[in-house]
């Protein structure tokens, strides 16, 4: 191996270590090795358990909504032509281009019970979006909106319509083609998109901070609990929750890594 390659490799490893590995390791250390096992004690706090529940439930909603949305829009964008298609393609990327805190503000304006033009009629119907669970779902769904879509589109393009045409000539109707041909062939991409969505939704902070109100034990999410403990000098607990969040992210990445190479060996 040449000297430059060794040097490059060292630089990359050092970069990753100081930026990612070392800080994360510190979190682990603070959680488990600073006198007591903070994970166990923190999990006994009902507010923490509630925050974790809220986070996971909202993420699950985001996954379901964005999967349905991503697959439907993906098929629409790849397989059909309609006016405004390119614009729509740009528009759906907006949620990850805009800072989450801005997303939170925008949602507050639109869905707030007082001035929100959608929020007020909904509030009159007794549905409170802001400062409640639906608002959190809305925020995390919004910020992770295009992840399934973007995973699905290239695969849909690549498989083309050949198999669908073949299925039709064999007598399959539209629903059968969708279930038996299209969906199975994008399954890998959908899973990939789902995991990214999940990781993004679980880790969301800025948008939910603004729209959820952060009522402890009710509308507080895990990331917000981290912030609260941290500011309240209960650093052990904040590291423990941080550790759990990092664990979810790492698990998601591990699954993605396992799934990723398979995509390439597929097809003819």
């Amino acid at each position: 191996m040449s000297v430059t390659r060794t040097a490059l490799r060292t630089v990359v490893i050092a970069y990753l270590f100081f930026l990612v590995g070392w800080p994360l390791w510190m979190v682990v250390q603070e959680t488990f090795l600073s006198g007591e096992n903070h994970l166990v004690s923190t999990l006994q706090d009902p507010a923490v358990r509630s925050a974790l529940r809220v986070t996971l439930a909202a993420a699950a909603w985001a996954v379901v909504l964005n999967t349905v949305f991503g697959i439907t829009l993906g098929i629409l964008l790849v397989r059909h032509d309609f006016p405004g298609k390119r614009l729509l393609g740009l528009f759906v990327d907006l949620p990850i281009a805009v800072s989450p805190i801005v997303v939170g503000l925008a949602l507050l304006l639109a869905y707030g019970p007082v001035q929100g033009w959608l929020g007020r009629p909904l509030a009159e119907l007794g549905i409170l979006v802001v400062f409640s669970f639906p608002g959190i779902v809305l925020a995390v769904t919004f910020v992770s909106l295009p992840l399934v879509l973007r995973a699905v589109i290239p695969v849909l393009r690549e498989i083309g319509i050949e198999q669908e045409v073949a299925a039709r000539s064999l007598g399959a109707h539209a629903v059968q083609i969708l279930w038996r041909i299209t969906l199975p062939s994008i399954r890998g991409a959908v899973t990939y998109g789902i995991i990214l969505t999940l990781a993004r939704a679980v880790g969301e902070f800025g948008a939910v901070l603004i729209i959820s109100g952060g009522l402890v034990g009710q509308t507080e999410t895990a990331t917000m609990a981290v912030q609260r403990f941290h500011q309240g000098f209960a650093t052990g607990s904040s590291y423990a929750i941080g550790f759990l969040l990092a664990l979810i992210g790492i698990a998601a990445l591990a699954i993605v890594t396992v799934l990723r190479p398979k995509e390439h060996t597929r097809g003819n």
């Binding site: 050949e162 198999q163 045409v165 073949a166 039709r168 000539s169 064999l170 109707h173 041909i181 097809g267």
Partner: protein, 336 residues
Amino acid sequence: MGIEIHHVRKTFGSFTALEDIRLSVPSGGLTALLGPSGSGKTTLLRILGGQEEPDAGSVYLAGRDVTRLPAQQRNIGFVFQHYAAFTHMTVAKNVAFGLEVRKTPKAQVRRRVQELLELVQLERFGDRLPAQLSGGQRQRMALARALAVDPSVLLLDEPFGALDAKVRKELRDWLRQLHEEVHVTSVFVTHDQEEALEVADTVVVMNQGRIEQVGTPEEIYDHPASDFVFGFIGEVTRFGELRLRPHDVEVTLDPESGSHPGRITRLTRIGFEVRLEVVLDSDPGSLGGAHPPVNVQLSRTESQALDLQQWDAIWVRPRAAAGGREVEVLRVGAGR
């Protein structure tokens, strides 16, 4: 009761892909649609398959007007150039697909799939994925899949187009045999005249969206109905005002009646065949312009009997019974 096509027309924008196509394909036959690239073969096949609608005219399959019938109700089998295998399903599942969407009982599906896999000699490969098959095997799988639903018509778009020469030849013979076993009315598209002449019992020659000629391979080869067909179906060489096949040129060492002197500028041996390029001393006709070299095709025995070598001076003339054609077209230039 095979396929009837009445006055079918198809345009793409201002481009006419098919012009007044009339064709009757006998039931149980194996018909080739032959023509150069862009002549409209695929378009015609897609209209038969229901993937494209004609602008005018009608299509009858087995006596039924299917012109406006969607593809999935036509009961046709379609084999695609690039296999269109269902990549996430096993070979057996691929073959079973048409039956499963028809809600055929499981036991029956299993039996039929087994039967078909045996027919296409893939019985040992049922559990594999298409990606684990060779191109030839994949195309056989696609054929079994198309045959599974007992189609009244089998349509194949350049079924061997993506395969290498040797596999192509094997599959060609195999398709011929298979057709003798199952006898389903079949139409296949090709731009390879050898393939068409060898496999089909009826050849339809197409050019620029029209049908030039319909006939048996012998009729097409021996009695081409137009200059286009003559030129497309086999090699052609010019001798004065005549266009003829290179093997219809006779070579002699001495002058004979109607023969013309020339010199062998190239001599190539391909297996048992010998090809000559002969530059004539003067133009035997009166078309004017430079006369191109005459291409001659001989058997090795003939060549050896005359002891032909490069640069030999010889005499050439059309064979007595040569199926040559007067060449009006050469006077106005190239084209049909």
